[in-house]
Amino acid sequence: MRIEPAKSWQGLDLAELWPYRELLYFFVWRDIKVRYKQTVLGALWAIIQPVATTLLFTVFFGRLGGLSKQVSGSYPLFVYVGLSLWTFYSNAVSLAANSLIGSSHLISKVYFPRLIIPIAAILSGLVDFLVAFAFLLVLMAVYHVAPSAQILLLPVFVLGTITVAAGAGLLFSALIVSYRDFRYVITFAVQLWLFATPVLYALDIVPAKWRLLYALNPMVGMIVGFRNSVLGGPLPGDLIATAFLTAAVLLAVGLRYFTTVERRFADVI
């Protein structure tokens, strides 16, 4: 093996990542274990967070803001479906973004592909998502909503969301190492992002001529696709295709930036 100076244009070396698959597994396992060990309510938090937000939004946006009128069916259920995926997404992005500086000790003492750290942060959130999703099935039973065959498409949108989270998470995590300012950017960026995504409101309130521009936010297609495959409803092909395209571009950009700067991490962290 040869150790050389960092190239200015470093590619992604998948063959190099493969031997470290077990370390990825152990990081995910550690994050999940520690998270549940330190909390009294454990997995309940995975439900409490989206449920509390749903209640809040139902009162303020649904009732007082009148958004519930645009939604066919139950507004709380509508919001909860979107929020269960959104909560996973926003947690994944912020955990991934802060994961590198949270592991600064490891980075300055041991070598392994740094990519593992933010990826583990994203994957460890999947358990919470599964719990929240299980509760969604309970809610659907309560509201007498039966899932259609479209529900089989659901994993596609979860994978898509992981792709978006990985793209944004990698980009932010690498930026935060060099520029700590981005820690503050990420918090409100994710908050604003929620309002640029049809979680609280139906897609119809966006004027038709702005739709494609709006769909450049890949989470638009992911949320709409996810919700409609759970609750039944049309799957707008243009939005979903755009979403997967921008998700792929975002991931490519994130990966490219990350792999280019990752060898510098130990010097600046």
């Binding site: 150790i3 597994y25 152990f26 550690r30 000790h105 041991v110 070598y111 060099s178 600046v268």
Partner: protein, 417 residues
């Protein structure tokens, strides 16, 4: 020495860029340069100075090869580039120039217990730490019983390690590391932690590794263990190899270098690799007449002056020193807070400690400094910040100086009747 090469280092150099406040500024700088001149003028009006970044070559041009089965000790003074070389060999940081060829499965140990999580049990941490060190799950499972019994803590293996004593913690951590089976082992001075019993076990394990024919690269301050373990030593000074050969002559050369008064600074030292953010940046030792010095006699008074990089993160903190002798044993400890009966405030950036009369025997000593919130977060740790020499120890005016070799580092004030 074997004819086959395990490690070949070719002209390796490493440059660090040291900025006053490295991380935050660069981003601001890049935005500033984007926005152009008007904003720069504004900043100057507001009293900002542009960050002057200085280059620093931690390693200048290092080349040497290590044969398969060699045990090589790397020695040298602080700032000579030992840890930088170690970090490059461990792939933690890339070299700026040059390259290294490694032939064989490498494990590098810059500390024991990397990645231990306090909430996880001993069992869980063995798997986690093992994976971090590069072991496969199957391999860890196979060695698990051996690791536990080597660490001597069977009954506590399912207890979270936060409840462990520091001795148990280090034993477990070392035990995992001791079960690595690399072809090339790159190891930092992890041996200098722990008690004598533990150090001996570490040395024993290193000896086993040597006898099993593994290649070991060992960075150390402890010249005795270098002489005992290694069949070759490399002396680094100021980022270059200044001696390379059999351990006895190289370590002797290093000792002579240390004793040479002309090589000692004027009694002050600046931080070589300052961490980003708040840190101690400069230390000065002053003698009774108030001039900076590195040479003292027993019975002298000493004044330590420490300067920090600027405003501390918060109020209510203390500064501590540890005084160590030649073999890195702690001789004494002191902390500002209990002595001053009050904490330092955030705006303080110059700390003074008056010490003495020094009850120390002949020999060389060094200080490490810590800035911390009492019993909590450690804001800065400056290891081996500065060394000094006790030239003469004749506290009782007998005309006979006491050396540290057989008499210990300290002379207690005494009267014989």
């Amino acid at each position: 020495m074997s004819s086959k090469t395990a490690i070949a280092i070719h002209g390796v150099a490493k440059r660090y860029t040291i900025g006053a406040t490295q991380d935050a500024t660069q981003f601001r700088e890049s935005i500033v340069s984007m926005l152009g001149a008007p904003w720069r003028r504004l900043r100057r009006l507001a009293g900002h100075q542009s960050a002057d970044t200085t280059e620093f070559w931690a390693l200048k041009d290092v080349s040497f090869t290590v044969g398969v089965g060699d045990v090589v000790g790397i020695i040298g003074p602080n700032g000579a580039g030992k840890s930088t070389l170690l970090k490059i060999l461990s792939r933690i940081t890339p070299p700026t120039r040059g390259y290294i060829d490694l032939d064989g499965r490498v494990s590098s140990l810059l500390e024991v217990g990397t990645g231990f999580h306090p909430e996880l049990t001993g069992r869980e941490n063995i798997f986690l730490n093992g994976a971090i060190l590069g072991m496969m799950r199957e391999e860890i499972r196979r060695k698990f019983d051996a690791i536990v019994s080597f660490a001597e803590l069977d009954t506590f293996i399912d207890t979270p390690v936060k409840h462990y004593s520091s001795g148990m913690y280090v034993r477990l951590a070392f035990s995992v590391a001791a079960h690595l089976e690399p072809e090339i082992l790159i190891i930092d001075e992890v041996l200098s932690v722990g008690d004598l019993h533990f150090r001996n076990r570490c040395l024993g394990r290193m000896r086993d590794m040597r006898d099993e024919g593994r290649t070991v690269l060992f960075v150390s301050h402890d010249l005795t263990s270098v002489r005992q373990l290694c069949n070759r030593a490399v002396l680094l000074t100021a980022g270059t190899v200044s001696a390379d050969g059999d351990p006895d002559s190289v370590t002797r050369r290093y000792e002579q270098m240390n004793r040479d008064p002309s090589s000692a600074g004027a009694g002050s030292a600046d931080r070589v690799h300052p961490p980003p953010g708040y840190h101690l940046r400069r230390v000065e030792l002053r003698n009774q007449s108030g001039t900076a010095a590195r040479h003292f006699d027993a019975g002298d008074a000493m004044e330590i002056h420490l300067w920090s990089s600027g405003r501390a993160p918060a109020d209510s903190y203390t500064v501590e020193f540890k005084l160590l002798n030649e073999v890195d044993q702690v001789v004494s400890f002191g902390s500002a807070n209990p002595v001053r009966a009050t904490y330092y405030t955030a705006d303080k950036d110059h700390y003074i400690c008056r010490l003495g009369p020094l009850p120390l025997t002949e020999g060389s000593y060094s200080f490490s400094f810590t800035v911390r919130v009492w019993n909590e977060a450690r804001w800065d740790f400056w290891e081996n910040a500065i060394g000094f020499q006790i030239d003469r120890c004749d506290l009782f005016k007998t005309g006979h100086s006491v050396t540290g070799d057989h008499n210990g580092p300290v002379v207690i004030q005494q009267e014989w009747l």
